[in-house]
Symmetry: C2
């Protein structure tokens, strides 16, 4: 007797779930129907800045699996089809074909919600003017590239200085634009503590990018042709031939909210460890529309990141397919780069630790990516947080150059294992002059953190 | 009342210990006398291949702290002075000034043995001929450079294909030599399993290095001028204008053995967790002359590596200085490179697992250092060992290109935390297209290892 699995959203989480379920159950045992509002499946949104910047030549390189490739695996993938209503008691979804306008109900035995996130788009005068672009989907990326090709001026303003903002600043620099980044935070990269964000500010300024912090955008000024001319803040105006919005994203959960599914404080769906929506035996959710457990702080958070979405999909597909898997949670690792600057973080910032009721010490050090005498040794700054008394590692932030970012992985594993900074100092990390100083920078930070923990008593 | 600390050996372990002890106790509380047979203190032996290869221009760049810099810190460092006898019951050492020939006894309250390792130098006809070089000390490196400068021929043979051997092969390639590596193992890099060593063989062959495996050197052939002409094996002769011996090292423990101190199966001193020589309250030992606890296999091993020596010194200095620290052990991490090939390993090889009585499964995967579509994405092969039944991670080996080697650190931390491969699959590692595919290669290997564990039952 065949069951039907319905998947809403055909990007990383949804299609990983569908593919994994298909691996475990063939078409006779499980029918899979997937609905996707957009025109693309299984693509790397994280790669869009590099496509816009020109390092990735073709849009299609960002597509891991096309709709037809999914269909070849017996997944009935319906593109440009939006799910408009979820009837939980009736176990069915209503979909609308965006081309024909046709609407119809589809029953499910099992449901996967993978509706992703939507970019924050503040209600500002001029926000919808031609030349103002988000960069969340491939369609967004194409629209931006079209604007760049059609625009003579070479002034760009990026609104927001988080991951998307700084990566788009790099992309526009690569395209030859004079770039201004307008950011309402104290420093760029608010996922870092301000002292580490300051290093990003300085490095980006050094690249010729105009960095405007502590600035709330009040409107987009347009010309007689209705196209964007400038970005206005309370204090100033920044001329712009093109504006990119990189203000962040929120979980896309209108459908789930309307259906009465449980949402967290940040608006994401709440799931159990098997990624099943809490209280609902037949509904799973994953990717950018859920909140995940923060293993360090012990609460739920919304983190939109392709690597989590893929893991969620894998777990969901295993469970839907009759196998068993769980997603234990995250420690909050993220890496990024702006030209040759590498930025990484994992665990808690100072304000996260305070919010969690934790007392902590910090240690910040400078070291090099390779032995100091080895050609190409590049400076990096490592900041470490450790809990007072116990010495438990709470977080690490790194700003530096080549070889800096992925060093955060050591801390990510140590956080997962709930290690103390004293334990970190003894870690047997890879050492050879081309790869590391004899004390890896993470260990140098750990040694200083040990001292800080002891001093704090 | 002042105590006297005597340190034998003034490289990483000895002088780290002395420096840390000095930080904790000033000269009025602790007199520190250090003896060094050679002409240099606190230098990076690991950097010698890069000095010979020309990437490091000056010998002195490899010296972290000169004898005079140590003396400025109130350490009475006596260079070119060899300790020839250790009188444990009498708590004294006999030293000989190698320049004057003068011998004298020095009493100690506390003793640190940091005598290092000596290169294996097989008893072969011609082994002492001009043009045959070891590369363990700065003096060795200078002698080799002098030979290279004075020799017209451009044929080099490296005997041994471990870390020193492959790094010296790179150095000689950099210097414009035609290089042959003669190795008695089945494949180069016997610290890897042969299937992974094969990848090193292939890559080095691709660089134009002649790789001769399974070959025992029977002698060094010399010419009428007594200089080296070729390296002979049972089957062949390899023309050589210069020969570099990179066969490995053994603990330098003649002094300790003569004094009746406890040695392990591989000839290294045995210590407790505080790096105190077992059964001796006032004697510590660290660096290349000791055996260390292997946290995965649960036995003792000799591993000569600067990063361990520095940690040992730090721990010893803390304990000698009246503070407290321990060295819990190692997981066997090592990284190296040959031109653009990166090689890394941690934990157990297949034969180590068998020797430890562990049943295991393996998983080998190919992946890339960056998202597949990102420029510069480089292939790497990751092999993972996991214990049968429990799924506990036992070891990881990586052979690849840029961004491959330091990924082994994730596995090193996971081994320390005794994680299972299932736990690995959920690790929150840094993801962004310039740094990693959406599934980090280590996680891809872990996923395959999970499957292998389940299949093995």
């Amino acid at each position: 007797m065949s069951e039907r699995l319905v998947v809403i959203g055909a990007d990383a989480a949804g299609m990983s779930a569908a593919s994994q379920a298909r691996r475990l159950k063939d078409r006779d045992a499980l029918e899979i129907v997937a609905f996707e509002r957009g025109g693309f499946s299984s693509y790397s949104a994280c790669g869009i800045p590099y496509w816009v910047g020109g390092q990735v030549a073709e849009r299609d390189e960002l597509i891991a699996r096309t709709p037809d490739e999914h269909r070849e695996r017996d997944i009935d993938l319906r593109m440009r089809t939006e799910v408009t209503e979820l009837d939980v008691p009736g176990k069915r979804v209503r979909a609308r074909d965006l081309r024909s306008g046709e609407e119809y109900w589809t029953a499910y035995d099992k449901l996967v919600i993978a509706t992703g996130a939507r970019p924050v788009r503040p209600e500002l005068p001029g926000i919808d003017a031609p030349g103002v672009h988000g960069v969340q989907t491939l369609d967004d990326g194409q629209a931006l590239l079209d604007t760049l090709a059609a625009t003579e001026g070479r002034r760009a303003v990026v609104v927001g200085a988080g991951y998307i903002g700084v990566e788009m600043a790099e992309a526009l620099v690569q395209r030859g634009y004079r770039v201004t980044v307008v950011n309402r935070g104290q420093e760029p990269m608010s996922t870092l503590d301000p002292d580490m964000g300051r290093l990003v500010h300085e490095a980006m300024s050094g690249m010729g990018i105009e960095m405007v912090d502590d600035a709330e955008v009040t409107g987009i000024r347009t010309g007689d042709d209705k196209r964007v001319r400038a970005v206005a803040t309370a204090d100033a105006e920044y001329p712009a031939d093109v504006v990119v919005l990189g203000i962040g994203v929120r979980p896309q959960t209108d459908l789930a909210r309307a259906a009465g599914l449980p949402l967290g404080a940040q608006g994401g769906l709440l799931t159990d460890l098997s990624m099943r929506v809490r209280g609902h035996a037949d509904i799973w959710a994953g990717g950018d529309c859920v909140e995940v457990r923060d293993l360090v702080a012990g609460n739920e958070r919304h983190i939109a990141l392709g690597t989590h979405a893929n893991k969620h999909g894998q777990v969901i597909g295993s469970n839907v397919g009759g196998d068993y898997a769980t997603f234990p949670g995250v420690v909050g690792t993220a890496v990024s780069k702006v030209c040759d600057l590498e930025i990484a973080r994992t665990g808690l910032r100072e304000k996260d630790a305070r919010a969690a009721g934790l007392q902590y010490v910090t240690a910040t050090i400078e070291s090099t990516s390779r032995a100091g005498y080895f050609p190409g040794a590049a400076l990096m700054t490592v900041k470490m947080l450790a809990e007072r008394r116990t010495g438990r590692l709470l977080g690490v932030q790194i700003v530096g150059h080549e070889g800096a970012a992925k060093r955060v992985d050591v801390a990510a594993v140590a956080l997962t294992a709930r290690m103390t900074v004293e334990q970190l100092t003894a870690l047997d990390l890879g050492y050879a002059p081309p790869f590391s100083p004899v004390w890896d920078p993470v260990l140098v930070a750990a040694r200083k953190a040990v001292t800080a923990v002891r001093k704090a008593g």
